[in-house]
């Protein structure tokens, strides 16, 4: 079966896109699809370590992202976006791969379907 590329362009929590992206990524791998989750622009902030949801009622999306990785979702963060967003590599969740624009273009080309969040 073809691969799905899910692209997240928005920072987590401010709107529902990040939560929906990880939810659909998990749904995809649970259905034995191959899923690439690609974080670009402020979407890379989903991969920031140390998110604390205490008192907010939100699901902790750092935890959900880690679950995605454990379940087999390949997660990529755009290198240039990470730099723009002041996100240092030591501060990125383990298992998230930094990718160049060319690598991301290739992933998008390979994918049979793309979902943009």
């Amino acid at each position: 079966m073809g691969k799905i590329a899910m692209v997240l362009r928005r920072a987590p929590y401010g709107d529902i896109n990040a939560a929906e992206a990880v939810r659909h990524a998990m749904g995809g791998v649970a259905d034995e699809l191959t899923v690439d989750l690609i974080l670009v622009d402020s979407g890379v902030l989903l991969a920031k370590k140390g998110q604390d949801d205490t008192g907010t009622g939100f699901t902790n999306l750092e935890g959900t992202l880690k679950d995605c990785i454990d379940m087999g979702v390949e997660v990529y963060a755009d290198k240039a976006s990470a730099r723009e967003q002041h996100l240092e590599s030591a501060d990125i969740v383990d298992g998230v791969k930094l990718a160049s624009a060319a690598e991301i273009a290739e992933l998008m080309q390979e994918a049979k379907t793309t979902m943009i969040f």
Partner: protein, 76 residues
């Protein structure tokens, strides 16, 4: 001195963080003895539908019902 806060909520309950911001700000102002009005406009009115089942995110019905008991005045 007690003041009046009027919040405008115009987004649907589960697509944005505005629900949480409105709930927390309104509750804090009510606890401090201020008058709090909330005007729901556009998709904001969906925050006040009955039988909402949201989990893992601020449940608009539960939270606003609680605040109405505390004195929040809501206008649709």
């Amino acid at each position: 001195m007690a003041k009046t806060f009027t919040l405008l909520l115009s987004t649907s309950p589960y697509s944005y963080e505005n629900t949480l911001t409105a709930v927390k700000t309104a509750e804090s102002a009510l606890d401090k003895g201020h008058t709090v009005n909330l005007i729901a406009s556009g998709d904001g009115v969906y925050c006040f539908l009955k039988k909402q089942k949201a989990k893992g995110i601020t449940n608009a019905e539960e939270e606003f019902s609680r605040l109405i008991q505390k004195g929040l005045k809501v206008y649709l």
